[in-house]
């Protein structure tokens, strides 16, 4: 009896002891370097998008170290794999902050992953840089949103399609995957289109499940909807994986960009790598960055990226640019206050400027969003985009949409008002 007991006790003790040892041993390195957390899925369904962002962060940190590091210390990347599992995101965020004592975290792709780490960042008071376009309706003290808010992507895209160059579209299909980002974006767009005088009958909204692969019915519905004698366009918030079969079906049913253009908010260079684009020429995407943009800083970035990944065909995309801007802003803020203390860096970040890769200077705003140019690109045969339209100035990101009832009176200001949801009607934070 006793020998077994020891075996069992050893096992349980080992489990707990092992975890403790891990937690005790790791902070020992923390003295020499400044740690930067990278929280992107490397396995599971989201690895398709997020792996690249991990690589770009490693490159940026590597470069910064070549320049001599930060505050005289080397930066150290701490990579974890939340494996496309949302509760694991929260666990890993906690591990990065509490155990690894990182100075800031760059990570997340989906909104739900951001939502699941939010409580952790608030509780442990750290900084998250979130690089992906999202539905807005959020402004948190601990999060800096370097991707596009809806007013930096969706609304300009619709404006373009309504313009003469865009084909003076009068009828709209809002097609999306059934989750929060498309739902919110479409709500905003619906309100915006109605404000522009589009009738209900000229708006068709369609939602599909994640990973939808059979698009026959929906594409033929779109075709039918587009035959009403008015110029029709599709605004697609279809999520990554479902796009390839969607575009394949479009091409097969003979819908060309000249007939019914599709403007997508989740399709970039990376996504097109897996698609034969010869039939998609002319379909559109709205982003704040395209690899094809000619600027010295972008050329340099692409060259560095391809050298770093040792792959001359490796493409760049918009969320990568967001990380570049975010990282540079963080570096500048840390240099400005001379410490990585999150409270001081959070206060220092608004107002910090960093060059974006398309030749402008982006600025961190008091609402923790940044200013970005908005560009519309048309898909080319080689899987790149031709920029066919671009805003003259940088557009400031708006956390709270002006087109939603619940949020039109809200304003985020972490500098003056010190809150993320200041209500301009009641002049109070929160209510």
């Amino acid at each position: 009896m006793s020998s077994i007991k020891i075996g069992r006790r050893g096992l349980l003790a080992g489990i707990i002891g092992g975890a403790m040892m891990m937690s005790a041993a790791l902070p020992a390195f923390a003295q020499e370097t400044i740690k930067v957390g990278i929280l992107h899925s490397l396995s599971g369904t989201m690895a398709i998008s997020e792996t690249t962002l991990k690589d770009v962060m490693l490159m940026l940190i590597d470069e910064q170290n070549k320049k001599g590091g930060l505050l005289g210390k080397k930066l150290e990347a701490v990579v974890v794999d939340p494996a496309s599992n949302w509760p694991l995101f929260a666990e890993k965020a906690r591990e990065l902050i509490a155990q690894q004592k990182v100075a800031a975290v760059f990570g997340c792709w989906t909104s739900v992953s951001r939502k699941s780490v939010l409580p952790v960042f608030k509780e442990l008071n750290n900084i998250l840089f979130y690089p992906v376009q999202y539905e807005g309706e959020e402004s948190e003290r601990n999060v800096f949103y370097t991707g596009a808010a809806p007013n930096q992507q969706a609304i300009p895209a619709v404006d373009y399609l309504m313009s003469k160059d865009g084909g003076e579209v009068k009828r709209w299909v809002l097609a999306g995957t059934d989750y929060v980002y498309p739902r919110t974006t479409n709500k905003i767009l619906e309100a915006y289109l109605k404000a522009k005088g589009i009738a209900d009958a000229d708006i068709m909204i369609n939602y599909t499940p994640f990973g939808q692969s059979d698009w026959q019915t929906i594409v033929s519905d779109i075709k039918k909807f587009g035959s009403a004698g008015k110029k029709t366009a599709v605004v697609s918030t279809i999520n990554g994986d479902a796009n390839v079969p969607f575009y394949k079906e479009l091409a097969n049913q003979g819908i060309k960009a000249t007939d019914i253009p599709v403007v997508a908010f989740s399709v970039g260079e990376e996504e097109l790598v897996g698609v034969d684009t010869s039939n998609l020429v002319g379909h559109l995407a709205a982003w704040n960055y395209f690899e094809s943009v000619k600027s010295p800083i972008n050329d340099e970035f692409i060259a560095k990226w391809q050298a770093f990944t040792k792959n001359p065909k490796r493409v760049t995309n918009d969320p990568m640019e967001a990380h570049v801007i975010g990282f540079n802003m963080w570096v500048k803020a840390v240099e400005k206050v001379g410490t990585t203390d999150p409270d001081k860096v959070i206060d220092a970040l608004p107002g910090i400027e960093a060059p974006n890769l398309t030749g402008g200077i982006s600025k961190m705003l008091p609402n923790h969003h940044i200013t970005k140019p908005v560009m519309i690109g048309e898909i080319r045969k080689d899987g790149q985009f031709d920029v066919v339209w671009k805003t003259k100035d940088l557009v400031p990101g708006d956390a709270w949409s002006d087109y939603l009832d619940g949020s039109k009176d809200l304003e985020a200001d972490w500098v003056g008002k010190k809150c993320g949801n200041f209500n301009t009607k009641t002049n109070k934070c929160g209510s």
């Binding site: 937690s23 794999d81 509760p87 989906t110 929060v180 919110t184 619940g406």
Partner: protein, 397 residues
Amino acid sequence: MITKYIVSRLDGMGLMFLAVMAVVAVFVPLSNLLLPPTSAFHVPTYLMALIGKYLCYAILAVSLDLVWGYCGILSLGHGAFFALGGYAMGMYLMRQIGTRGVYANPILPDFMVFLNWKELPWFWYGFDMFPFALLMVFLAPGLLAFVFGWLAFRSRVTGVYLSIITQALTYALLLAFFRNDMGFGGNNGLTDFKDILGFNVQAQGTRATLFFLTALSLILAYLLSRWMVTTSFGKIIVAIRDAESRTRFLGFRVEHFKLLVFTVSAAMAGLAGALYVPQVGIINPSEFSPANSIEAVIWVAVGGRGTLVGAAVGAILVNFLKTVFTSGFLAPYWLFLLGAIFVIVTLAVPKGIIGTLNGYYERWRGEDGEARWHRKSADDTTAATSNETGAGAKIHG
């Protein structure tokens, strides 16, 4: 008296497990609250949250072991019951936010406000009251399991077929909860919780209390399961597992027994989910994904099917490995390891860790009657299942 009764129902392994759990339940929260961070015995909040999560999974594993290990019902949809319990708790926590949400709407949760919902859907009524929410934690999964089980067991859906339709069940729920129109927050789920029973969910004291409650629940879940399987009732469900038809011919209403075990197990999984949500801070539809439920099955298999203690140990061990293998240079290899665990456990350690240890233990003690009975029943299982599948194999073409 009660103590004596409980002890009489336990084996050495069970006593051991209870002792360790009792120590963990008391030591971890106290050390976290009272000892200074510099102390060698201090358990940091991070670790407490992590272990708390493992323990929730352990309750789920115990509930799964109750139906799979003792009744032969391999549920590939137990994650659904876990998630339903979690949603019930999540809905309570959402209602507690009140005007502290970003839109300061006193009734509607944030996700409803920005999607222009005007009023609270009927199924959200009552969740502002903790007792009601607590009731629903057990009732929602329990009721689903009851209805599902009543249909399935009555029409004698067994074995692989049952596994596959439980998987279909959780998959259908996954798709349903993903829909924003369902009113459960869609893909993002429920999050940004503030209070539980008036206590801040992020406060250290609340965390410690939740941890204690989780450990206590695991102990109670174990005791309940142990009690169920060691009474004469337990003998019957094991008989159902080993030879369902034979048990039926002996005059037992097989489907009633199965239904009861299945429902109790589902409610237990719901409790695990309810404890999980405030500690993790979010509940969303991914908990319904079939892969999660299959992963829960492997926890049980790793620890040892039909041992209860093994299920808990397996859950804790696999999740600990997951924590280790998703950090640092090991990061891309987690799926390789998890896959390998599945293969190795089924091939090389079919009885799981605790089952194998039990085997050694019994050999060391000399084979007594109990052990022989266990072994024999295991052989019967193999024979029975091979009969059933062998029969299905026939080509019509």
